[in-house]
């Protein structure tokens, strides 16, 4: 794992840890099974990854699998950063 990937995972985990009452959020912990904490959580999460990593979450990106865990989010962000934004 590169330093950059580690850094991205740490940033994602740090943000998500605000929402879930667990000491350490594992890379593969299913955040949906931990439970939503507010009705606006989904939009907060979309807003976070867009702001934090400078990407745009498109309609076609709305697979829950992309948002299910720290590891899944990291993979999603890495993929978005590696492809040009479609017009």
């Amino acid at each position: 794992m590169s330093t950059n990937e580690k850094d991205n995972r740490a940033r994602i985990a740090a943000y998500l840890s605000r929402f879930f009452p667990v000491q350490d959020l594992g890379d593969d912990d299913d955040i949906f099974e931990l439970g939503f904490v507010s009705s606006m959580f989904a939009m907060q999460l979309v807003s976070f990854v867009e702001h934090e990593f400078g990407i745009t979450v498109e309609n076609e990106d709305l697979e829950l699998e992309h948002f299910r865990s720290v590891g899944a989010l990291d993979a999603f962000v890495t993929r978005k950063l590696s492809v040009p934004v479609p017009r």
Binding site: S17, R18, V37, S38, S47, F48, N59, L62
Partner: protein, 383 residues
């Protein structure tokens, strides 16, 4: 107070004030009594580019920043909350289409929303589903490439005049959001009259009986209608309603200062009476505080900061409750004159009641905002 604005934003605010002072404010009481917004007013807003002011430029809109949109909502709210609510619902739909619409839908619809050729409304509430949007029972069923929609929507702001609705229903996958044209066979509307506030807002029932909707009108994905679609719409709605409440605060303050400076009782102008001064001091303070909170929410929104959602909710909650108190005090300060229809404060009072109900009631905010506090102030040991 203008120090937080850029030169361009301040110039836009002055232009919005001049527009609303000329075209909206002088007629607001008449529209309130008639319970109608004249179609030519909606046309004027469209022609001036105000309805599409926040639509991205790539789709023909004004592409203005969130702060500028807020300034417009504030000036419209100061003049007429009904017309402000038109900007709110139209912008909510346009924003959500830009956010979660498919490319073809964006390409075909957004330029028309930007020009105001099509005016949009949000059709979420039902007779038995208000704050709890996930409880909607309007049925959305797949039929080939289309959806078929049957249900009853209620309290739809500008539902009587809108050309297109962003509708929330329930499909096999869960809450599902679609755009539905007024002209769709099976769709009918019925004006709701004698509301307590925003009486010119053409609020209506919308009934759908087997309405066939093209699959391309889907927003986001089936099942994400509340979490992503209504979530995105409500976030912007709360922001502009918060600003609209700043406008109500301004209007209540201006009417009260004017009246207190002319009304004489017990041998002096009532502006010298201590308890009148207290009411005006509170309005003045709350108007400033609400404006600053809305400006912060706008700035965060423009920076795409995830904290913008909490800021918009907090600003809306504060501004709506402050507008309610200011309008109540403004009526009290006007005495019997405030109870009649000869002064605008009666309208402001009714409008302010609605502001505490829509886009997240005061009670929902009172129970929900604590969640943001817990997120922001998690004990260090749990981080």
């Amino acid at each position: 107070m203008t120090g937080a604005l850029t030169e361009r934003q301040e110039q836009a605010r002055k232009e919005f004030r001049a527009f609303t002072d000329r075209h909206i404010a002088p007629h607001a009481d008449a529209w309130h009594r008639a319970q109608r917004t004249p179609p030519e007013v909606i046309r004027l807003l469209a022609d001036e580019g105000l309805l599409g002011i926040h639509v991205p430029q790539e789709f023909g809109g004004g592409g203005c920043d969130a702060v500028t949109l807020g300034l417009l909502a504030g000036e419209l709210g100061r003049a007429c909350s009904s017309v402000r609510s038109l900007l709110t619902v139209h912008s909510m739909v346009a924003h959500t289409v830009a956010r979660w619409g498919g490319r073809e839908l964006k390409r075909s619809l957004l330029p028309r929303l930007a020009r105001g050729e099509r005016v949009a409304a949000l059709a979420v509430s039902e007779p038995d589903a208000g704050s709890d949007a996930a409880r909607v029972t309007t049925r959305v069923e797949r039929d080939g490439d289309d959806f078929v929609v049957t249900g009853h929507k209620k309290w739809i702001t500008y539902g009587e005049s809108a050309d297109v609705f962003l509708l929330l229903g329930r499909s096999a996958e869960g809450p599902t959001a679609l755009l539905v044209d007024r002209d769709t066979p099976g769709l009918s509307t019925e004006l709701i009259e004698d509301m307590i506030g925003i009486r010119a807002s053409m609020t209506a029932h919308v009934r759908l009986d087997g309405c066939r909707v093209p699959g391309g009108n889907l927003l986001a994905r089936p099942g994400l209608g509340v979490s992503h679609v209504v979530g995105a719409a409500l976030d912007l709605g709360r922001y502009t309603v918060g600003w609209g409440c700043v406008g109500i605060l301004d209007a209540a303050l201006e009417a009260s200062v004017d009246y207190a400076g002319r009304r004489e009782q017990f041998g002096s102008l009532i502006k010298e009476h201590q308890l009148v001064r207290r009411m005006i001091s509170d309005m003045y303070t709350h108007a400033r505080a609400a404006r600053l909170m809305c400006l912060e929410a706008g700035r965060l929104r423009d920076e795409r900061d995830p904290g913008a959602l909490a800021a918009a909710s907090t600003a809306k909650y504060f501004a709506a409750t402050a507008a309610g108190r200011a309008a109540t005090d403004a009526v009290q300060l006007h005495g019997a004159n405030g109870c009649g229809s000869g002064y605008p404060v009666q309208r402001l009072l009714g409008d302010s009641r609605v502001m505490e109900v829509i886009e997240g009631s005061t009670q929902l905010h009172q129970t929900g905002l604590a969640e943001y506090a817990f997120q922001e102030h998690t004990p260090r040991s749990e981080r």
